[in-house]
């Protein structure tokens, strides 16, 4: 009978490995639509960090994990000019509502 602690660790490692495999298999079968959505989201990453995760201490906000409705509200306010900005009012006016919906959905589902 192995030591219970070691047994737990071993079981944990197996669980993690299976979870990782599942995720990676899921991604491997990504559809064209998913690929296009990731690329759309990547257009924010130049300023807001890869996968919406900024460097530590960034004054430019991270987008990963932002609730979808919050993102939609911010983007709409930038686009209609009701929220002042340095750059975002100019960027949002170049995006369609469908593109903004894609970004909001993507980043809400991305881990912080």
């Amino acid at each position: 009978m192995p030591h219970p602690f070691i047994h737990d660790v071993a079981r944990h490692v197996v669980t993690v490995a299976v979870a990782t495999l599942t995720i990676s298999t899921g991604h491997a079968q990504q559809t064209a639509e998913q690929l296009h959505q990731r690329t759309t989201a990547a257009m924010c990453a130049n300023c807001h960090g890869s996968e919406g995760r900024t460097v530590a201490g960034s004054a430019i906000p991270a987008l990963a994990g932002m609730p979808k409705n919050d993102m939609l509200r911010h983007m709409k306010a930038f686009k209609d000019g009701s929220r002042p900005a340095t750059v975002m009012h100019q960027i949002t006016k170049g995006l369609t509502d469908a593109q903004i919906e894609t970004l909001a959905t993507y980043y809400a589902a991305t881990q912080r």
């Binding site: 495999l21 990676s24 298999t25 991604h27 491997a28 079968q29 990504q30 559809t31 064209a32 690929l35 296009h36 990731r38 690329t39 759309t40 990547a42 257009m43 924010c44 990453a45 130049n46 300023c47 807001h48 960090g49 890869s50 900024t54 460097v55 960034s58 004054a59 430019i60 340095t86 750059v87 100019q90 960027i91 949002t92 006016k93 170049g94 995006l95 593109q99």
Partner: protein, 428 residues
Amino acid sequence: MKRRSFVQASMALGSVSALGSMVACATTGSIPKQARVVVIGGGYGGATTAKYIRMLSNYQIDVVLIEPDAAFVSCPLSNLVIGGSKTMADITTPYDKLSGKHGVQMVRDYVSSVDAEKKTVTLASGPSIRYDKLVMSPGIDLMFNTIEGLKEANTSGQILQAWKAGPETLALRKQLEAMPDGGVFAITIPEVPYRCPPGPYERASQAAHYFKQQKPKSKVLILDANQDVTSKGPLFKKFWADNYKGILEYVPQHKVVGVDAKTNTLKFEIQNDIQAQVLNVLPAMRAGNIAVQSQLANMNARWCGVNFQTFESTQAKDIHVIGDAIMIAPLMPKSGHMANSHGKVTAAAIVAQLSDMAVNPAPFLTNTCYSFVNDKLVVHVASVHQYDAKDKTYKTVPGSGGLSPAPNELEGVYAMNWAQNIWADSLL
């Protein structure tokens, strides 16, 4: 040196196979096991493409990045090194995370030739690498031979360009430091298109800021081959009038055709000669040499035509060209941010093509470009470029994009954060 490069390349290729089989075990995707993308050039465009092909393929496509330099040195912010408020270390990022974190195989070498038929690139050190897809992100080459005497004066280190950030950036800073107070620093600008439209005006502003603090009798002279300031014109000109009056002088329509290194003199197409203590001469530019040599520069023999949906060359199948080397779409700047955007659209197109998926019918690109008018105040220009399937080009969206209303400190903070985030997005 040659031997070391060869060993590095061989080791890198060996580990590509090892990594390829390791990844293949863990996945069931439709991407061919032998799929391999070679990327030439580790700037904003090439590094981003390499990283995003790995990410967007869920680490299934092998990527080899060929880059001669040991570390990435950013052109954006390099003018602050010349102005004295930043150091080379501040603008330098190592390449190790691309390999360590993302599994990109780094080969430190130049490419001596490309065989588009056999789909191979040959390294300067000898070995060849086979590719399924090739991405060229060679940046620009400076056409020194368009200005008489410039090649020799640059080789000797007397007249610098410092337009490719690196050793010349620091060397130009040292020339300004060594210049006696009361001297003149002259920067000359070629006709558009050239890399980083607002860059020369930012550089002139940085020199003026330095002189104002440290050498108040000195002058900055901008000699521009263009009709007027080519980017952020009203913003720069107002700031110069308000803050650098008597220090900075802007002179349009002056095209340099020759330099005399003995007397540090500029010769112009029309006007009289001008002498200055420090000369920074920017000649006309074209796509990086490997693209020209590979016959991809099919537009005016200077820039590479591409299919904008995929950035595949209009000249050669399965070779994609991105960044400053391409023939731009209307209002598309040659900038690092734009090259990063090109890289992502290209990475996605290549992942789709190698996976037998449809290429994105409606890609778009963003650009944000910050310029420092002193060590803290910044102005920006931003734009959004949507792909137009009918006209097969990118078009800026009416009503989108624009400029800062005036130089401001908040954007100075954002500019620094932009740099940190885009370096991480491209390299880490």
